[in-house]
Structures are given as structure tokens and as C-alpha cells.
Symmetry: C2
Subunit: 291 residues, 2 copies
């Protein structure tokens, strides 16, 4: 097992190269995709994938295209999410959003391109692997990112804006918009490492709990954080009537619930063999953001 920084460095060093490896991409398209892809961030999703794979003794280098693909999917969702027709955000990770720099048309295409590139990357890797592990890992990623996963969550988020906040609606949005894309790397990473179905299930439970905790903390930060620290506009959720955990349950209950989700995430790790300390510490550190 490596440290978070080491996994993160592996991903940082590979993202642009993986994209470029797909072939002759029009210069402006590559630039627009790479602008958002190289904007930094914690690289949580790809790090989770590499760590999950490593936990069971899988080949981290073999898993790298899958890790990069997840960051591409995350990035495409942010680009489209920031568009005027959606959240209409000008700032992301401390820099102007994609459409502010490249225009709306190109931002839509950069998002389409990143999603396509992600699918192409994992499929190319799957073909090279020679068995069906890669195909199964790719299926998990695209399913969790798709119309029963992240896109479904995004739809409910957009259409829910300004409607009455209910526990059910917020749980659906958190589960699909956020937790599905944090479960995908665990599921895919374990599959690549040759995990059994039971191990994959335990990993998915961990990912789901981690994802819910992560989004609860994010909701808290939007209320309590500062724009300068987070690199994005804060206090916006309430202003536009977003359905957040805080809006339904209040700040104190949200803190409690986040702690409980982390406890459940750590609990799920007990069904996984190997060196699970990394994943345990990572789940616990989620809470540090709002201590």
C-alpha cells in the first residue's frame, strides 16, 4: 500500500497522458478538456480505485486507466453541472469554470468528450487485459455514472431545486449524485484485483457510506465554509433552494449522521481481507473537514 499523496501523484502524472494516448484530438478540444481535468482537486475517486485494488493485492498500474477514467467522468459532470442551464457557476477549484473560458458550446463538447474518453480508455484497457475483469470493472463504472446512478442523481438535484425538501428526495440525490461515483472506484478496483462477489459487496457498502458522509460534510461546508478556502462559491445551496441534508435535517443532525455513516463505512471494511487501514483512515478523515 502507498500513501494518499503517492496514489494522487500517480493519477496526476497520468491524467493528461492517458487522454492524449487516445490519438489525434483537435487542439482546442484537448485544451478545453485538459483545462478542467488538470485543475487539481483531491483526486479522491481515482485514489479510491487504486487503493481498493491495492488492498487486495491487485496491479495498480493495470488499474491506472480505470482510475483516470473515473476522474474524467467526475470532471465531465462538473463541467456540465456548472453550465448556465444548470447550476450557472463561474468559479470551480478557484478558477473560472470551463464555459467561462471556452464558451458554452465548447464546454458541452468538452464534457461529452471526457465521458467518451473515459469509456474508450476503460474499454481499450479491458481489451488488452485478455480476460473479463476489465469489462466488468468498466461496466461498474459506467453503470454507477449513468441513468440509474450519477445522472439520475443530477436530474433529481436539478428538478428538485426550489421544491419542498424531504428526507427521501435528499437521500436519493446524495446516494446517486455523490455516493454512486464514490462506490464505483471501490467496486471497479476490487473487481480488477480479482475480488469475490462477497468482497465486492462489502466494498460497495463501504463506498456508499463513505459517499453519503462525504456529501453531508459537503453540505455542511457550503453553509459554514469560506469561498476563498474551498475555491468555489459557498452559501449558494440555500440561496437557490438546493435540496441538501442540512436543509432537511439541520446542522447538528447532519454532523451526527455523517459520523454514523463513517462508522458504517469502517464496519463494512471488516468483511474485506488485506490491508484495509488506508480505506479506514480515509473514511475517518472525511469528518476532519468540518471539525
Amino acid at each position: 500500500m502507498r500513501t494518499y499523496a503517492e496514489y494522487q501523484q500517480l493519477v496526476e502524472g497520468a491524467l493528461s497522458a492517458q487522454l492524449a494516448s487516445l490519438g489525434e484530438i483537435p487542439a482546442l478540444l484537448f485544451e478545453a478538456m485538459d483545462y478542467s481535468l488538470s485543475a487539481g482537486g483531491k483526486r479522491l475517486r481515482p485514489v479510491l480505485l487504486l487503493a481498493a485494488c491495492d488492498t487486495l493485492g491487485g496491479d495498480v498500474n493495470e488499474a491506472l486507466p480505470f482510475a483516470c477514467a473515473l476522474e474524467m467522468i467526475h470532471t465531465y459532470s462538473l463541467i456540465h453541472d456548472d453550465l448556465p442551464a444548470m447550476d450557472n457557476d463561474d468559479l470551480r477549484r478557484g478558477r473560472p469554470t470551463n464555459h467561462k473560458v471556452y464558451g458554452e458550446g465548447m464546454a458541452i463538447l468538452a464534457g461529452d468528450g471526457l465521458l467518451s474518453a473515459a469509456a474508450e480508455l476503460v474499454l481499450r484497457a479491458a481489451v488488452c487485459m485478455g480476460d473479463l475483469r476489465g469489462t466488468k470493472a468498466a461496466e461498474a463504472i459506467l453503470r454507477r455514472a449513468g441513468v440509474t446512478g450519477m445522472v439520475a442523481g443530477q436530474v433529481m438535484d436539478v428538478t428538485g431545486e426550489g421544491t419542498e425538501p424531504t428526507a427521501e428526495k435528499v437521500a436519493y440525490i446524495h446516494l446517486h449524485k455523490t455516493a454512486d461515483l464514490l462506490t464505483a472506484p471501490i467496486e471497479a478496483g476490487l473487481i480488477l484485483a480479482g475480488a469475490t462477489d462477497e468482497q465486492v459487496s462489502a466494498g460497495c457498502e463501504y463506498g456508499k457510506r463513505l459517499g453519503l458522509a462525504f456529501q453531508m460534510v459537503d453540505d455542511l461546508l457550503d453553509v459554514e465554509g469560506e469561498t476563498a478556502v474551498l475555491g468555489k462559491t459557498t452559501g449558494k445551496d440555500a440561496a437557490v433552494g438546493k435540496l441538501t441534508w442540512v436543509a432537511v435535517h439541520g446542522i447538528e443532525k447532519t454532523r451526527q449522521d455523517a459520523r454514523e455513516q463513517v462508522r458504517l463505512a469502517v464496519e463494512a471494511l471488516k468483511s474485506l481481507p488485506g490491508e484495509t487501514n488506508f480505506l479506514k483512515t480515509l473514511a475517518q478523515s472525511t469528518l476532519n473537514r468540518v471539525q
Copy 2:
């Protein structure tokens, strides 16, 4: 081998069901995706995939998810293409465009959803097949639809608008925006049928030539056609300064070039075994649209 109408019917009967088979999709998202997916059209891309598979004696039912995925990709590209930030079209296949009915935000998500659903469908099918044919076919589809294929062509189309039309630019746009997505079904269909690399190459040459002829005819129709017949706004290419074959080469040369591409498409079929008459007739019928 079946008739065009029979392949088309197979696709029509499966499209919505394949989408629904992915699981619990939010009702409004499903409706928005299905609105454009069920809007009719010739279903050329999925028909090509089934026919290519059938030509070499492959299993048409096994190929059906791949065929439907291609139509989903084609549909997503139309939805995003029609957006105000892109071509800003109000009419498609004789009906209001997706964003006119569901709003821009939902149209962007419906497009994202259809691309995701396409990738998920082919991956699920590939996992079920048990060998790597499905993975390879899926890779061909996503590669041709991606940042070195259809998305690349779309970028050059959008950024080329209003610039000086050159033969090189127009050839690039036609090759990637149109021909790549007509080559994908041939490539994938043949791979699913267990074709050799040489056979796949010959099929790709056919698809490329067919695609170029198809787009040349489309350019001609935009100049000569009537809105009522085509179900979309005509004369718009010239009005917004689109880079078309006609703009560079003129009407008469475009007709000649289209005929030559069809001849080359038919020529390429000679390297394919099996019953190639269907693909031959289909290529030739492209020209009938502008006789």
C-alpha cells in the same frame, strides 16, 4: 439476411425496452431521453450494425444491444447539437427539439444519459457474452463516437462556422462527424460476427465511403430540399456559414464525389465474404435521395 424494414422493425421494437432494462431511471429523465430516441428516423446506424453482423452469419439478437447503443449515441449527439449554444435548432424530425420541450438543462442531461446508457448497455452485453468480442465491439463504438471521432468532428464543425471553407476542413468534419458513426456499426457488427482483421478493415473502408457519400448528399439536400419533406430546417448551413462539401466544391462536383464514394464503398465489399448484396444496395440507395 432480412430486409431493411425488418432490421428497422427489430430496432424500433427494442430501443425503449433496452433503455428501460437498465433499471430505475427517474421518470422525467426517461421521458426526455425516450422523446428523442423514439422520434423515428431511418435507424441507419443500428440497421447497418445488424446487417453487417448478419452478412457474416453472426447472431443478430446478440448484436441488438450494440445496435440500440449506436442509435442512443446518434440521438445524444443530435440533442446536444440542437442546443442554443450549438446549432440552436427548434425542429428535428418534424418535432420540437429536446430543449424546446424539456428545457436546456434537462436536454443536456438527456444527452449525457443516452451516451452513458449506450456505454452501459454494450458493457453489460459484453460481460454476458463471456469472450472479448463484445468488449472489442464496444471499444470500436466508443472510439468512433469519441474525441478522435464524432466529438472531434463536431468540434471542428462548431469552431469552423463562419471561417473560410477549405477542402481539408470539410473532409475532416465529414470523416469524423458523420463517417465515423457509420463506420462504427460495420466495425462492431463484423467483430461480433467473429470477422478477421482483414474483413473488419474492408468493412471499415465501406463504412467510411458510405459515410462520406451520405454526408455529401445531406449537404446537397440542405441546399435543394424542402423543410416539410425533411422535417428539419433547410438552407440553414449556408445561412450560418457551415463548412459543407457544397460550399467548397459546388453542387455538381458534390454529386460526382458522392457517386464516386458509393463506387468505392461497393468496391470495398468485394473483400467481404457472405451475402453483401444488402450493404451494396444500401450504399447505392444513398444517391436516390438526390436524384
